[in-house]
Symmetry: C2
Subunit: 398 residues, 2 copies
Amino acid sequence: MNNNGITAPRGFLASGVACGLKNNKGKDLAMVVSENLAVAAGIFTTNVVKGHSLLWTKNKIKNGHARAIVINSGCANACLGARGDKDAQDMALYASSLIGCEPDNVMLGSTGVIGFPLDMDKIKKGIKSAFDSLSSQGGARAAEAIMTTDTFPKETSKTIEIDDKTITLGGMCKGSGMIHPNMATMICLITTDAAISQEMLDKALRSVAEKSFNRVSVDGDTSVCDQLVIMANGQGGNTPIISEGSDYEAFVSALLDVSVSLSKMLAKDGEGATKLIEIQVKGCKDIESAHLILNAIAKSPLVKTAFFGQDANWGRIFTAAGYSGADFDPDSVDIYLGDLMVCNNGIGLNFDEEKALEILKKDEIIVTLDFKSGQVNDRIWTCDLSYDYVKINGSYRS
Amino acid sequence: MNNNGITAPRGFLASGVACGLKNNKGKDLAMVVSENLAVAAGIFTTNVVKGHSLLWTKNKIKNGHARAIVINSGCANACLGARGDKDAQDMALYASSLIGCEPDNVMLGSTGVIGFPLDMDKIKKGIKSAFDSLSSQGGARAAEAIMTTDTFPKETSKTIEIDDKTITLGGMCKGSGMIHPNMATMICLITTDAAISQEMLDKALRSVAEKSFNRVSVDGDTSVCDQLVIMANGQGGNTPIISEGSDYEAFVSALLDVSVSLSKMLAKDGEGATKLIEIQVKGCKDIESAHLILNAIAKSPLVKTAFFGQDANWGRIFTAAGYSGADFDPDSVDIYLGDLMVCNNGIGLNFDEEKALEILKKDEIIVTLDFKSGQVNDRIWTCDLSYDYVKINGSYRS
């Protein structure tokens, strides 16, 4: 078993077990525990509708600390009224009684179908079994247990030197439909043994999310259970990071690497995806225009099906930019597929279709739009839209 | 041949011919001519990128009159720079020379792939052939010639009494991907023999579009060639409608019927669609919230694939409302599939799955969300998202 995820940093134990929530008998409950109380920060869905497990975490993380997180897949614990809140509380209470900590220091995550209650007998059995199998090598099992329609577990880690100490960050996340800027059916946990204040941890997380998780779109939907949480337990022994400066910058840079790596995995494993597509915009006049254009292109079903079909239909990309709500001069836009220019100053070129096909056949494609009207560059990661997306989502509940 | 479309009103001639723009040898050029100069009004795409044929029409219609319209399918005449403008002008010049009218009174429409120039030899041959075959029974052939991925021609007509005269309205349109509020890959022509001032015709068209064509969403994309134009030639002989009042109201009501009928055909024939879905919202606190919620639900791929799969996954509908940007109290929302309540005050009900399946198996499904927080009701028409949508759009250019 690799140890390349959330148990890579010192002092974190994890496990992933099957407790029967998933019809396919797969792993469906993950537990991650820090040996000591960790500093914690989180970012949560902007959806008006919020899952009960997510609401628990969102409320409890306000105290700035956490010991553990319990995440189940197979059921979202959402839209269930008082019962959903009670079940979330019971999950945290039971886990805390085993771990020996305050219930308020147990975070939760639930992902899966909305509107069906958690089977609390299964959940409690699962929590017990997960607790009994906690291991400093358990990251990969936890990453597997939080998967829903993901086709591969998503984990990564990175090691840096801060203050002459080796500091490690590890992360795991799950997608893979309902992914769109501002989070979306994503649950992500990042662990680190860095010593850092809650204020700086929160600041680092927010700045990094903007450039990574908030730049991923699978289908434009955002979910009621999306959360990104980070736990820092300080076991790395560095002088605590309590303000900006070179140590903070080094930490942010490593956190960005971990987050971008996970973000690209989310896009690449978008439901039914066969390709990772990076859309780059250059020369936009402001950041708002760049966002509008990136979001419109990344969520256009016409663009995404054309990529699936390896069809160099750049007109759809230009069209999506055009209806994005951003104001720009269409007569100054260049468009590239890979390094092949297909549109120059808003006019279609008679490009080499064979060269285009060669580019579009690849697993990873970069599309660039140059607006030549300002200094702002930005990017987003998305995927194509295939038959399998329809297949997966036409029968998700069954 | 039926005469249930644009040649149903008196004084309109039409034709549809194949001039070789479509690979499948199908009809691809339509011409519609009014015997006398008609009052005209139009609504055009909000896309920043605009097709050259559309720009011609948008500019020329400002004079308030038109004699004819020429529409080709198979090529969008878009993103071609000066050449695209020149080709549009040449189309109008050539058609006007045959019809014997001012070029400024010939409107144009082009729909198809972006970035490839019109084959003007074919276009001119087509215009000549269309002119030679103009007929007062030719509406159905014109409706066929403007189709792209449409699976059936879309036409309708309606007769009313105004001022003791029989007044007829006829319409044709094409979809069928890239359909979203604010128009989108739609080209629609409405004809009428009503006598009405340009000001009142324009007003009527705008008020009706808001409740019909702007309430259709197929895939959330909007195109560079969308236009809705209306020609009124006055041959019905009613006292001209020059102000609001009962005659105007009767005209608007008939125009709304024609427009809603065509709008529902657009949604029903969305690319790959197997079902027409009408989303209704009730009790919204304002019209902006209603729009945001309807648009988000209608363009959610997760909602649309669930309908394709006949899966009563109402959680996705609720989720889409939640991320729409509208502010509402999730704990007061009721959701119905047909007449079956599946969510009450934000809490999922243990509903009868067999009854739900019965409803979801139908060709036309009404979904209702009741927010119980205001007086605004609204609706939108959309369709499901199927394998065929991916198939059609994965290889549209080929």
